[in-house]
Amino acid sequence: MKFKLSSGLFIFLTPVLLWLFLLIVIPQIELLLMSLRGENNLGEPIWTFANYLHFFTEEIYWYTFVRTATYAIIVTVLTFIVTFPVAFYITKVVSKRLSVFLTILLLVPFWVSELVRVYGWMILLRESGVLNHIMLSLGLIDKPVEMLYNDISMIMGLVYTSMLFMVVPLISSLEGMDDSLIEAAHDLGASKWTIFTRIVIPYAAPGITSGSIVVFMLALGNYLTPNLMGGKNSLWFTEQIYNQFIASFNWNQGAAFGFLLLLLSSLIIWVGLKMSKQQLGRVLS
């Protein structure tokens, strides 16, 4: 029996170890090592912190970094504000039958590629776009307005692409909530505001945490939406990484940027988990 167990363990363990070490652990170590490499004046390869120093001395790099982090936090908060009423409505207000239908309807757009969704927004918002055409023919405006390629359209696009990852954990945590908690508070004379802030939100806290972590990470690592909806000076940090790798072919600098982004996202996720006293395993599954 003991031998059988260990052979089973071996069969299951090998592919998992190969996957995690060859494709996850070693590449991340290589990323770190690569970011510490450089050339001296003679063009010989050396170990150096120059790539990181460069990041802190060039204003544009750390400005983009801080800007990306701030906007990713704003996107997370906005996504929560936009989707929370929807999750509450679907789980608590609307009739049970309609609730199933609305949940399905809610999920369908997110099976479609992010690129298609961003493209849809582009043909809606741009100068020759559908919204401009409608507003012109209604006489609301005299000449077309460019609504694409600015920070607001970029943030809206990011919120749009991230909504699913907030609304699903919110719905599943609110579904588990006993309606009688709200009824009791209502009978005792609590106002709607009190019920939301003292009962509903604390109850949904695990869902809020896991949704926020995923949304933050996706916004931070997004390349498509800032690139296509944010225009020329959208200054998203992933674009800096892309430029270093593909345009300037400076892989060492790009690796340093990549490692900084990895550190930032790990740090924020760690802080989020500590603040809400939850574990990664529970949040993700």
Binding site: P15, S113, Y119, G120, Y160, S265
Partner: protein, 286 residues
């Protein structure tokens, strides 16, 4: 407030209005994209110039519909191949992972489980560049020591497959683990007592029990791979996948052909999602 309590009219009306606005916001870009695929115009914009199927079937000098557009067609084929291989690979490894973490005990299990979840919190761009760097370093090393040039280690089809596989396996692992947790071990023990081999038990008891999770996980893996952009962007070689190919077209200009491709994508993914949902509902009825 909620369905069991009396609601004042302002509250319920306001809430309904908000939900309607939300769903309009949700569907507007998709609807507009689909509708403009049929507009008889050279640009994906209004005014409406009449219904036309040119952007699907035409093959004239001015208009080349999607079914004659070799670049987009071949990228769809590349994406389909990639997605198929990625979903098979991640189903195998993800399921093995689920068995490993749910049924086996070994030192360092917690740590390894944590490691298996990390691909979900590493941004896709980072997964892409780190794999690119590693493959490149390995390729250089092999070339310097043996003189062999291995095309696999340069941005290529297989590098994309590995990049996507590296994080999609985790999703499959989570889906299958959730199902495996509900598995009643008495069934396995009964079969073993009745003389079935370990292999028989897995084939005729455990796998059938896991089937809904395997189908669901496979569908999720296929879709995630088919539409992946962030990781693929850095690993893609000469044969571009559909999202990367579309991105290059959208960035450099726009033509209603993109709308036609999008429409096909929207219809096929919705169908796949619906089928997946129906299968899952059947499971609940049982």
């Amino acid at each position: 407030m909620i369905r069991s309590l009396p609601q004042d009219r302002g509250y319920s009306f306001g809430f309904k209005f908000y939900i309607i606005c939300y769903f309009i916001f949700l569907f507007a870009p998709l609807l507009v994209t689909c509708v403009l695929a049929f507009n008889d115009s050279n640009f994906p914009s209004l005014p409406w110039k009449g219904f036309s199927l040119d952007w699907f079937f035409a093959n004239t000098g001015e208009r080349v519909g999607i079914f004659h557009d070799s670049s987009n067609l071949s990228s769809i084929w590349v994406s389909a191949q990639t997605a198929f291989i990625v979903s098979v690979l991640s189903l195998i490894v993800g399921t093995m992972g689920a068995f490993l973490f749910e049924q086996q005990d070994f030192p360092g299990k917690q740590g390894l489980y944590f490691l298996a979840l990390t691909p979900l919190v590493i941004p896709g761009v980072i997964l892409g560049i780190s794999l690119l760097l590693t493959a490149n370093a390995l390729g250089l090393f092999i070339e310097e020591s043996t003189g062999l040039d291995i095309p696999l280690l340069r941005p290529s089809f297989w590098l994309v497959v590995f990049g996507q596989f590296s994080f999609i396996s985790t999703f499959v692992l989570l889906v299958v683990s959730a199902r495996l947790r509900k598995f009643d071990h008495c069934l396995e023990e009964a079969a073993l007592n009745l003389g079935a081999s370990r292999f028989d038990v897995i084939c005729s008891i455990t796998i059938p029990f896991l089937r809904p999770a395997l189908i669901g996980g496979g569908a999720v893996a296929f879709l995630m791979s088919f539409e992946n952009f962030n990781t693929t962007l850095f690993l893609v070689g000469s044969d571009t996948t559909l999202p990367v190919n579309l991105y290059l077209q959208v960035r450099d200009g726009s033509s209603p052909v993109i709308n036609a491709v999008s429409l096909l994508l929207i219809v096929s993914t919705s169908l796949l999602a619906m089928i997946n949902l129906l299968i899952n509902r059947d499971k609940k009825v049982e």
